[in-house]
Amino acid sequence: MATKIVMEALSPTMEEGRLVEWKKTEGDAVKVGDVLAEVETDKAVMELVARAAGTLLKQAVAAGTTVPVSNLVGWIGQPGEAIDGEAAAPAAPVAPTAAKAPAPAPAAPVSTAAPVPIAEGRVKASPLARKMAADKGVDLARVAGTGPEGRVVKRDVESAPVGGAAARPGFVAKQETGPAYTDTPLTQIRKTIAKRLVQSIGPIPTFYLTTEIDMERAADLREQMKAVNGDQGKISFNDLVVRAVGLSLAQHTACNAWWQDDSIRYWNEVHIGMAVAVPDGLITPVIRNADQKSLFEIGAESKVLAGKARERKLKPEEYTGSTFSISNLGMFDIEHFTAVINPPEAGILAIGSIAPVPAVVDGEVVPRKRMRVTMSCDHRVIDGATGAEFLKTLKLLLENPAALL
C-alpha cells in the first residue's frame, strides 16, 4: 500500500510550510532519508525526507503551495501501484502564497522596484493578467503573483512596474515611471517574525542599530560649496543626510516600506518625513521623491516646509505619506538617541550631533568630526542585517559626499 507523504513540523513552532521545490519527480526511486522536497518553515528552508522506500508515485501539491502540518503532499509506493481514494483530494492550499515572490531581497545591491526575483520557467498568470501585462508592457516574470500557487492575477499587474526591474548602475535615483509601490504578501518567515516579536515587545517590535559616521569630508564639502557659491549655495548637514538617506533607501527598498498587517508595501518612491519641533510637539513634513532631488532642492524645500511647520501652515499632503523618517537632534548637541517609529513606516533614523572625537586614522589618533546615527527598525519588516546593509550604504555615501552631488 502506498505511503502518504505529509507536511512535517520541521520546526517546533511550525504550523504550516510552503513547499518550495520538489527534489524528486514523480516516478523517481526514493530510499528512506532521501530529500523529497525543500520546505520553507517559519524559520528557514528545511528538507522534507522520505519515511518510506519505493517510488515517488505522486506529488499531490505543486511547488509553491502552502500546506498545513500533517496534510498530504504526496505518495510513495511501488511503481504502478494505485493510490487510494484520497489521491483525488490533495491538501488544499491554506492561503494564497507568493511562490514567485517569496521574500523581498533586502540586501540586493542593485534594485529599484519591488524586490521580486525573476521567475524561472513558466509564469503562472491568469489570462486577464497576461493580457493586461502585454498591454501595459509589464514583464510577468518580474511580478509577484498573489493568487493561488503564486498565480499572477489582475491586482498584481495593476501594481507592477512597467517593464519589470531594469538594472540601474550606481547611486542614481530611479527614473522609471510606474506604480509607487508593490504590496507583497507575507512569507511564512515574516509571518512568524511578526507574530512572535509582537508578543515580545509590543505592537511594533523595534530594535536599534547605531553607527558612527565620519563627517570630515561632508564638512569639507559644505565649506567648498560655500566658497564656490556663497551664501546662495549653502547646504546644511541635514540636507546632506536627507539626500544620502534618500539614495540609500532607493537602494534598499526593504527599508523603505510600510507594515500593513497582512502584507508589506515596498515603496518604489522615497518620501522622507523630517521631524520638526514645534512649540507644543512635533510634526514631520515630507520631502517627496527625496532620492530624485538635488541637495539644493532638498535644502530649499526643507526650509520652506520647516517654516510652514512652525507657522502651522502645512497642508495635509505636506505632512503625510512619508515612507521613512529622519529625526535630527544634532543641533541640540544630542550625541545619540533613539527615535520612535512613525507607523506604518518600518524605520526612522535618529541623527546625533557632529562633534570632533579622537579617532584612529592610518594608525594615528587624530580628531575627526563624527556623527552617530541610530536607526529604529520594525522587526516585522526589517531584519538586523537588512538594516545594517542600509546603514552601510548611508555611511559610505556620507563619508564620500561627492556621490551626493
Partner: protein, 325 residues
C-alpha cells in the same frame, strides 16, 4: 402590477394563451378534475371544459407521445409532467420524436409543444423525486429549455413557450410555486433565450437559474456587506443560452461563479464555463468555479439533504475564492 405567486402566474399564462388560441390544450395527470397536482391548472377545466383540459391515465410515455402526435398536425399541446422525474418514462418521445421531427422530415413537420412541470428537489422526497434535468434536455438540438425563477418570468416565459413553434421543455420549481412577486397584468411575454441581470455588480459574476437565483441574490447581499459587488445573472433560458449577457458581464467582472441545482458532471454550468473559456479567455482573472448539487442521489435525511443542496453560503464562498479573498 399585481402581486402573484409563481403558481398563479403560470395559471394566468395558461388561461390567457388558451383564450388566445383554440389550438392550445392542456393534458396530463390530474390536470382537470383535481385542478392540478400543484394547482397550476386550477379552474381551467371549469372554464375550458374537458376537450381542452384533459386528464390522462398514469402513462407518461403514452400521453406525451399523444401530445407530440397532435403537434405534428398543428395543435399546440401543453403536456404537464406531474414532476420531471416521471418524464424519464417519456424521454424517448421528447428526445427521439419531438426534438428531431422537424429535422428528420426535412422541415416538413413542425412541433409546437410545451412539456412543463416542476423539476428538481423539494423537501425530503429522496432520490427518485429530487432531480434537476435541465442539462439532459439542453443537450438535445431541437429542444428549447426554459427554467424561470420569478412569478413574472414564469408567466412571460410560459406564454412565449406556448407561442413558440418549437418543442419547449419548461421546468418549474416545486419550491417556487408559493414565491410571490409582481407580475405585469398586460400581455406579458418574456422572450426565450434572453437572460436577466437580477442584480448589477462589478466584482464577480454569479450565473444561476431557477431555484439557485434566490440563494445567489442572498449571497450577493452577504458579499455586499463585505464590500464585494456581485452581479447576478438569471439565465432564464438554458437553451438557447444568452451568451452575450454572460460574456458582457464576465468581461466586466473578470471572475465568475456558476450555480445550478443539478449535478456538476456535464451540467448546465459546464456549458456556461465552456462558452466563457472560449469566448472570454483573456478576460478571466481566475478559474470559474461551479456550485452544484452534491454528486450523489438525493438523501432523505434532512441534514444530509441540506448538505447536498446549493445554498447562499456555498455561492458566497465560491465568489470569494474567485476573487482570491
Amino acid at each position: 402590477m399585481a402581486t402573484l405567486t409563481y403558481r398563479d402566474a403560470l395559471n394566468q399564462a395558461l388561461r390567457e394563451e388558451m383564450l388566445r388560441d383554440d389550438r392550445v390544450f392542456l393534458m396530463g395527470e390530474e390536470v382537470a378534475q383535481y385542478d392540478g397536482a400543484y394547482k397550476v391548472s386550477r379552474g381551467l377545466l371549469k372554464e375550458f371544459g374537458p376537450r381542452r383540459v384533459v386528464d390522462t391515465p398514469i402513462a407518461e410515455l403514452g400521453f406525451t407521445g399523444i401530445g407530440v402526435g397532435a403537434a405534428m398536425v398543428g395543435l399546440r399541446p401543453i403536456i404537464e409532467m406531474m414532476t420531471w422525474n416521471f418524464a424519464l418514462l417519456a424521454i424517448d418521445q421528447i428526445v427521439n420524436s419531438a426534438a428531431k421531427m422537424r429535422y428528420m422530415s426535412g422541415g416538413q413537420i413542425g412541433m409546437p409543444i410545451v412539456f412543463r412541470g416542476p423539476g428538481g428537489a423539494a423537501l425530503q422526497l429522496a432520490a427518485q423525486h429530487s432531480q434537476a434535468f435541465e442539462s439532459w434536455y439542453a443537450h438535445i438540438p431541437g429542444l428549447k429549455v426554459v427554467a424561470p425563477a420569478t412569478p413574472a418570468d414564469a408567466k412571460g416565459l410560459l406564454k412565449a413557450s406556448i407561442r413558440d413553434d418549437n418543442p419547449v421543455v419548461f421546468i418549474e420549481g416545486e419550491m417556487l410555486y408559493n414565491l410571490k412577486g409582481e407580475v405585469p397584468e398586460d400581455d406579458h411575454v418574456v422572450p426565450i433565450g434572453v437572460a436577466d441581470i437580477k442584480r448589477a455588480g462589478k466584482d464577480v459574476t454569479i450565473i444561476c437559474h431557477s431555484k439557485t437565483v434566490g440563494p445567489a441574490l442572498k449571497a450577493a447581499e452577504a458579499l455586499a456587506a463585505e464590500g464585494i459587488d456581485a452581479e447576478v445573472i438569471d439565465l432564464r433560458s438554458i437553451r438557447p443560452l444568452d451568451t452575450e449577457t454572460i460574456l458582457n458581464s464576465v468581461g466586466k467582472t473578470n471572475r465568475c461563479v456558476v450555480a445550478e441545482e443539478g449535478w456538476a458532471f456535464a451540467g448546465v454550468g459546464a456549458q456556461v464555463v465552456d462558452t466563457i473559456q472560449r469566448e472570454a479567455f483573456d478576460s478571466l482573472d481566475a478559474p470559474i468555479l461551479r456550485v452544484t448539487g452534491a454528486d450523489v442521489p438525493m438523501p432523505y435525511n434532512k441534514h444530509l439533504e441540506r448538505a447536498a443542496k446549493v445554498d447562499a453560503s456555498k455561492i458566497q464562498d465560491a465568489a470569494k475564492k474567485v476573487l482570491y479573498l
